[in-house]
């Protein structure tokens, strides 16, 4: 069975064109554009990870910064203290985040915490981590954990030390990988069960679906996927502050892409990341050119975008585009 079985030919062509465009992009892009490109791919990746939980299984997490932060700190601390490669750190990050996700999921799903209360619980755990890490001396607490930085002439993929181009391609590979994974998940038995739970947990249960187990799997996969983004984040920016990485605004930021793009769709998180990050950075550049120096323009723009989408495209930007392209059945 092919990994992309069931995708219409037009969809495959579009996908291939997009991939080629993204592959050649660094050859033409300036350093700044490359950074924007990295950011877009970063949000496309974490958006997809979040989408597994909310879009597929219907469990709203507003605390995904927890998994970004835990992943980032796990790999960075192992590198700084023991000189371990981030690829080894990645294993630790995945294990740690899967465990954290399982703990939160167990608490919530075992005791019937659902809906907005579940969302609040996820925020609470991210906040615990933020405050806890502020006082966690091994990772330098609130003064921040810094990775040694030098001017790298060669790309060292094993230690994730290298040029922005290397990070761009790494993020691109992860985004593409996440897409393939999400596609496979959505068409699997588990994917059907997740969607059933999202639409009606009672009906799913009556059809023999073990709702608790399926929700747990969704949380663990989503958390583990998100931790990868945290690891790359740490080695790209080289500094980590609990106040920043665990902050609730980071959790919100990463869910905007999928909401704008289309929750529960495969392309939604990617389209949303392009729109939001691309346009916000574009607008900032425009303001710079025009000499308008107003702080918070990006936030206002985010708000405006959300407002327009919620009012005019409640299912997100992608579903109507997909229908027009003939990739999706009408409502």
């Amino acid at each position: 069975m092919s990994l992309l079985e069931g995708v219409p030919r037009r969809g495959l062509a579009l996908l291939a064109a997009l991939l080629v465009l993204l592959l050649v992009f660094p050859m033409f892009a300036s350093g700044y554009l490359l950074a924007v490109g990295f950011l877009i791919l970063y949000f496309a990746y974490v958006g997809q990870a979040w989408n597994v939980m909310m879009g597929f299984a219907g469990q709203l997490s507003l605390g995904h910064s927890l998994y970004v932060g835990l992943g980032a700190y796990a790999a960075a601390a192992l590198y700084v203290h023991f000189g371990l490669s981030p690829w080894i750190g990645l294993g630790a990050a995945i294990a740690l985040c899967a465990l954290a996700g399982a703990a939160i999921g167990f608490l919530a799903f075992r005791f019937g915490v659902a809906g907005v209360y579940f969302a609040i619980l996820t925020i609470a755990f991210a906040e615990f981590a933020r405050i806890g890490f502020d006082h966690f001396a091994w990772v330098r607490g609130s003064s921040g954990l810094f990775l040694p930085v030098a001017n790298y002439t060669e790309n060292d993929l094993w230690n994730l030390r290298g040029s922005p181009t290397m990070f761009y391609y790494l993020m691109l590979a992860m985004t593409a990988g996440a897409f393939v994974l999400c596609h496979a998940l959505l068409r699997s038995r588990m994917g059907y069960y997740w969607q059933a739970i999202r639409e009606s947990p009672e009906a799913a249960e009556a059809l023999g679906v073990n709702v608790f187990r399926c929700k747990m799997v969704a949380v663990v996969i989503s958390a583990a996927m998100t931790s990868l983004a945290g690891v790359v984040f740490a080695f790209y920016y080289n500094n980590l502050f609990p106040e920043q990485i665990f902050h609730v605004s980071r959790s919100i930021e990463l869910i905007l892409g999928p909401i704008i793009g289309g929750i529960g769709t495969l392309f939604g998180p990617i389209v949303g990341a392009f729109l939001l990050t691309g346009l916000a950075e574009g607008l900032r550049e425009l303001m710079l050119q025009l000499g308008i120096d107003v702080p918070g323009v990006k936030q206002v723009f985010y708000g405006l975008c959300l407002l327009l989408v919620v009012v005019f495209l409640p299912d997100g930007v992608w579903p109507p585009i997909a229908r027009r392209l003939g990739l999706r059945r009408g409502p």
Binding site: R187, R189, Y192, Q195, S200, E202, A203, P331
Partner: protein
Amino acid sequence: MLEVERLSKSFRGLHAVQEASFAVAEGSIVGLIGPNGAGKTTIFNMVAGVFPPDSGSVVFQGKPIHGFRPDQVCAAGIGRTFQMVKPFAGLTVLDNVVVGALLREKNVSAAKSYAAGILGRLGLGAKRDLLASSLTLPDRKRLEVARALATRPRLLLLDEVMAGLRPTECDQIVAVFRELNRDEGLAILLIEHVMRAVMALAQGIVVLHHGEVIARGAPEAVVRDPAVLESYLGEDVAL
């Protein structure tokens, strides 16, 4: 195959079901009737594992199943429909049924073809690619039945699936149940107000009133029972 023994359930002091006992024999069709609020759906929910009984037992194929979760009851071989239909609104009609079929058929494409067969049987074949949210109420009721059947139950619990159907639609679905019962030995326990359907299908009837079983037996005898006439059917019921 299903034995319900002295089942009781109270909600905040209200005795919804009191010491109700009845049985569904292997391969038979039993109607559960009674006025609104008699406790019919409460009994269903206890059999289906939605909530446990306060006392009493539910035994299915020799195994006690009270205290099972709904998914365990389903896996044991009991399918159910909901009185208030609960379609997976955002999924297609076919995918709704695929969810049920995946219980016994782990392979997705095999589950799809099995589900398609069931849709055809219930006359929903032409609507398989529509979103479930776009279906009319009668079609949603059919979808409930299709989903439950896809789990390949040995016993099917039907909660007012005929309500709101036109007489011809009602006869169609009755014919489907008869066929399933005859060909596959599917046992059915149905809650129904549409006496036309009950009389056409049921080999036995259990009458519930204020949470208690007031009559049971063959349909012809039960509908002439004075207690049943008084509490539920009325004096001059036209069958």
